[in-house]
Each structure stands twice: as structure tokens, then as C-alpha cells.
Symmetry: none
Subunit: 233 residues, 2 copies
Amino acid sequence: MEKKRILVVDDEPDVTDLVAYHMGAKGFHVETVNDATASIAKARNYQPDLIILDIMMPHLSGMQICRILRADSRLAKVPILFLTAKAEPHDRIEGLKPGADDYVGKPFSPKELVLRAESILRRVAGPKESTSARLRIGDILLDSETHRVILRGVALELTATEFKLLRLMMERQGRVQTREHLLLNVWNYSTEIETRTVDTHVRRLREKPGPEARWIETIRGVGYRIADKKISA
Amino acid sequence: MEKKRILVVDDEPDVTDLVAYHMGAKGFHVETVNDATASIAKARNYQPDLIILDIMMPHLSGMQICRILRADSRLAKVPILFLTAKAEPHDRIEGLKPGADDYVGKPFSPKELVLRAESILRRVAGPKESTSARLRIGDILLDSETHRVILRGVALELTATEFKLLRLMMERQGRVQTREHLLLNVWNYSTEIETRTVDTHVRRLREKPGPEARWIETIRGVGYRIADKKISA
DNA sequence: AACCGGTGTAACGCGATTGTCACCTCAACA
DNA sequence: TGTTGAGGTGACAATCGCGTTACACCGGTT
């Protein structure tokens, strides 16, 4: 895979440097614009694979830039990763969905940012994983389209988070999922989420089918795994 | 599925390019005419699956082209997607209804245009799920031609929006519909429409049959779904 | 003008969901 | 068999999502 190009649009030199430093270290080619108004032109001839955009800039709203980018035929498909203030009202973040592919709330850890960026690039680049709508392991059946889960013929009522958690584990059938990995994919790797939260949700999942149904195994010191009866070593 | 053909009729090179770029990237085969008068001939031997037509052209009205196309036996059934100015008088937009399958108001986002075009092609091309104007789920009966809905033998009086909403959900029987998806297909993906509007309309739908008829299910944190009693593995 | 049906939006409130903590259990190991 | 730390469990407050109500607007009709 050739080197990925990332364009950072942010007027805070700190953030800009931080991104450049970390992503650069990870093998990305990073360019930076701290003048918001110049960002469009820059983007146009740089043709980045990803744009990291701060929506909290003093003069020109990142939101506006986003719209302009989206309206530009040559840039419309470039994924955008937003940097937002944590205090941002929830609905505003929702509101930027049409343009944004993901967002990271400030303050963020470099690690988080890098992970998210990589995740986006992976997703956009290769839709190789045909995550079929239907998954099945043993007597567990999960249908993403209807959002239904059936275990031993009994329908389970799962919340949104529980559903995502279970689906992730089923997609990686048999393999052990570390808490970190679960946090990264189910939650948006909000750095503020404790890893123990995963435990709680696993517990809630476990008790759904009623007692004495040990379908999610604990791998002590590592993580969790969906029990696959067929593999008995 | 073989490659879909799209014909763009517009005298503005900008728009033309934009469409070509995006749709082309999406795997469509796009041809373009910027001379309105030549469009009919072009259309006739190109035999496109979809025509995107600007009704705001200086010399020849897109409306006239539309009528001519409709009158041509070999093109009459080709769906037409109009590009209209946002400021367009309301009655004019209404006036083109008979010929148009959909329209997008300028300025539009590329994303919007592509989505609408795909939506049309999907609707026209893939009548895999009973194109028939009649849909039935459980004891709900919907007839697109007569524009009637009957639930448990009782006729429901639905407004236009309610009808479209219900039909979309019935077409996607069982599958969960996110608010975004509903907005996209029922409303004209006017980005200005709030997602909560969907809630309100779902509510209005719900109360039509009278109390205690939970036929539309809520999937918390995801969207809505028409109850389909059968749980099949 | 007054009215009215249809539609989109804002505000409020309640219950479900969720993240976190404190405490408990138990497996692993010496 | 005692120690230790990872993981289970129950409880709690904050938050979110959604139902619900009320209201403003817009076109069409009277």
C-alpha cells in the first residue's frame, strides 16, 4: 500500500503539530493548513486520502469548510475526521453526520486519533470484509438488518450497545477479543471510557438468555470470546 | 448486474462534470449532452437507464425536453431526475410531476445527487420484492395504485407523507429503517429536515388505527421497523 | 379575510440505557 | 492454604432517546 496522504486543517499549531508528529511517525504523509480559508485550495491540489478538520476555529466554521469540501466534485469523497470540543451539544455532532465520517472529541489522546484515522482509511480503502447481514455461531443467530438476535430459538431483546458488542464478537468468531479492541470498535474509543465498562456490558449480555447460559467465555488476563462448541481441543 | 447508463442533459459544464465524476466513480457509465436540442437524438440511441435533466437551460426548456421524451415510445419509461433551482416557483415544480420521477434542487450536494440517482435506479430496476403495487404484511394491506391502506379490514386515511413513509417501511419488511434512511427516501433528503420529524410522522401513523395497535416497532437507538411476526432462523 | 388540513419544529418529561463505582468471588500461584 | 489481582455483581446517577403535546407555517378552500 502506498503512503497515505492526510491533510490537517486547524488553526491551533499545537494540535496541528501533534497530529503531524504522530501520524508522520506512523508512516503517513501529513500536510497542514492553519489558515482555514486556504484549506480548500490546498486540499484540491493535495488530494489527500483523509482530511482532519477542526470545527472550532475562530473565523471560518469548520462546518462551512466541510460543506464546501463536500460540494467540490474532486473532494467530495475524501473522508473527513472531525475534531470537536467535548462540550459540543450532542445534536450538533449529530448534525454533521452527512459530511463527516467520524469525529474525535477534544481533548483526545494521540493514540486515539491515530487509531480512528487508521480505522477510517481501512474502511474506505477496502470493503473486502463482506460483513454479511446474518451471522451464526452454534445456536446463536444474529441478523443486522432486522436487528434481531435469536439464541436457541428464543429472541433476545438487546440494547443498541449490547447488539454492537455481540455482533463484533460474532464477527470474530472464536478469536479472543481484548477489552481494548472491543472499546475501539463498539465505543468510539472515547478515551474516557473505562475498560471495566466492557465487563459490565458483557455481564448484561450474559444474563439476557436467563441464568446458566455460559455462551460468552472469559479468557482471564486477555479478554472475551464467543463460545464455539464445535471447536473442542 | 450490468453497468447502468446515465445520460446527463445540462448546459452547465460544472454540473455535468460533477455528475460524471461521481457517478462514474460509482461504477455507472455516464454520457453527457450540453446541447439541449441534441439530447433527444442522443437519448434515443444511447438508451440510458436514467436521464438527469436540468430544467433551467437558456434556450430550450427542460420541460419541453421532458415532454418530448415522454412522448417517445422508446424512451417513455426511462426515469428522469430533474435538477431544479431552489427558488423555482412551486407550481412549476408541481407541473413537471407527470414526467419526473424525482427532482433535486440546486444547490445540491454530490452525495445527495448520487443517492437519489441510485435510489431511482434501484426502485425501477430491482422490483425483486413484488413490484406489484400491492404490499401486504400481516394484516396490513397497502395498494400504491389506489393509494389505499387497509389494516385489519379497516381503511386508513393517510396523508401523502404518511403513505410514502408506510410504503417504504413495508417494502423493507422486517428490516430496521434508520431515521437517516427514511429521510433519504421519503423526504427529498433535504438536509435541512430534522431527524425528529420522522418521529412525529411515525407517531401520526401509529395513532391512525386507533389505540393499542403496536404495528410499528421502535428499535431504540437504531430506528423503526414494521413488525413481522415470523421469526425465522 | 378567515379557516383548515398537512407538515415541520420546539419543548417537556419519563423511562430506558449506560458508564462508573464499591464490593465480592474466585482462579492462579506460591 | 493464604495471597493476590482479575473479573463478577449489584446499585446508582447521569444521560439519552423517544413519545407526546403544542405551536408556527404554508397552500388551498370557503
